[in-house]
């Protein structure tokens, strides 16, 4: 389990996260929602090791991983799919996938590759094509597939809905929800699109200006109209 305690991050004078604490339990989706600039991406990037926290602690399976490098964090089993469909267009689909988890054994990687192609059949059909030939939704699948190739216990999904058609977003998020339930994967999902995110999530956390203003069962958060007006702007 991934535990975040009193995490604060700042960029110069701007404090992006102020004392955030939360838990990401296995087998379910935990959704962090909030408006633009709430600190959602900072949270994800810090967990993945891309940003160094000012204070606070991140523990994973009782190991302190605060401030570790991204390449070490992912090797421990925490994989981030960053915002904006993080595929490498100059590589083929299969190369993008094979990039994930190079430190793992040949057998482990083959199993993960087969699994990625089963989960996302379209990637299998296009395995030798350049990733630049994929549509937005396919690229997001590829980005998730690459993260899964690292054999993660925790999957961090940063704004997967960005720029995608609603139907595709629903498909991808439902798939992620099923994956969490079936394989015990812990998913931390960050979204501006609260409705869809809270539908697949078990727990919802509302982030505003770097602070957690509310957390609870996803359904409750989804029905809290006041909260929606105040922090999510609809």
């Amino acid at each position: 389990m991934l535990t975040i305690e009193d995490l604060s991050v700042s960029y110069g004078a701007v404090q992006a996260l102020k004392g955030v604490s939360l838990e990401v339990p296995p087998g379910r989706v935990t959704a962090v929602i909030g408006a633009n600039g709430a600190g959602k991406s900072t949270l994800m990037r810090t967990l993945a090791g891309l940003e160094k926290p000012q204070s606070g602690r991140v523990t994973f399976n009782d190991t302190d991983i605060t401030g570790r490098k991204p390449e070490d964090v992912v090797r421990m089993g925490i994989a981030l799919v960053p915002e904006g469909r993080s595929t490498i267009p100059d590589l083929t689909v299969e190369e993008n996938l094979k990039l994930g988890g190079m430190w793992r054994t040949h057998a482990q990687r083959n199993t993960s590759l087969t699994r990625a192609y089963t989960l996302f059949p379209v990637l299998g059909e296009r395995r030798s094509l350049g990733a630049d030939t994929l549509s937005g939704g396919e690229r997001q699948q590829l980005a998730i597939g690459r993260a899964l190739m690292t054999g993660p216990q925790v999957l961090l999904l940063d704004e997967p809905s960005l720029g995608l058609a609603p139907l595709i977003v629903t498909q991808i998020l439902e798939l992620v929800g099923t994956m969490a339930k079936d394989s015990g994967l812990a998913v931390l999902l960050v979204e501006q699109n609260a409705t869809t995110a809270l539908r697949v999530a078990k727990t919802g956390i509302v982030l505003n200006l770097g602070e957690i203003v509310k957390s609870g069962p996803a359904q409750e958060i989804a029905q809290d109209e006041e909260l929606r007006h105040a922090y999510l702007g609809y």
């Binding site: 993945a48 991204p70 390449e71 994989a79 490498i88 590589l91 994930g100 690459r146 690292t150």
Partner: protein, 292 residues
Amino acid sequence: MTNFIDYFLGGISSGVIIALMALALVLVWRSTRVVNFAQLAQAMFTTFIALTVRDLTGSWLLALAAALASGLVLGVIVHFLVIRPVKRMDTSGAIIATFGVLIALEAFAGMIWGGDGKAFPPPIRNTGFEIGGRVWPFSPYDLLVVVTVIVLVLALTIVFTRTSVGLAMRASAFNPEVARLSGVRVSRMLVLGWAIAGFVGAVAGVLVAPLTTLSPTAFDVFLVFAFTAAVIGGLDSLVGAVAFGIGTGLVISLVSGYTDSSNAPVVALVLLVVNLLFKPEGVFTHHKARTV
């Protein structure tokens, strides 16, 4: 017409060597986004080491091995000692720092081996093949050069496209953040990029030395040619570096043949300017635009 064929043949071996030099520049650019203006000074230094080994042992192969090993090591040393500390502060500072390395290496070489040109004898005959009662400007040594370059480029292609390390290096070049998030130790890939570039440059140095004389500044003119080829090729394209390296060699040979060899660097610079005016991103590039 026979003139043209002569000049063309004469340009092949220098073309493939320039291709190697351009390749070394591209390898460094891809790994650290730094143009290493000291690349050929490193090659000059390792070629002097090779010449020393050759004089001591009399073996060209041992000399080549010494050049390759010292090329790898020198690439890594320059990266750790100069580029990494400077780049932490400023990327353009790192590019300027490579000029510093160039000047330092040429000065050291002058102190150790002297400033005069030295002959680096070819391992096999460097007089042209005689076919049909005529001596053509293509020698057994030229053939050795071409074969060596082809083997090296093929080997690099296989490493880059068929192995995990190659994939990790390419990914680190295209998108270091995604590579790190995938578990690639990108900083090691950068070191590897400098090491391989040093290796490739060392091969180019040993191959080109018998075609010219070896002195601390002997390879300066090749820097102009290699830089031109690398930039026209797109600076991050290995294919572009090889194609335009050979092209540059042929153009230079034709210019030298029909006019005078002192015009060659000028023509290279003209090519570079024309390229920057009309296709600044390079011909084989992955990126849409590069500011000039």
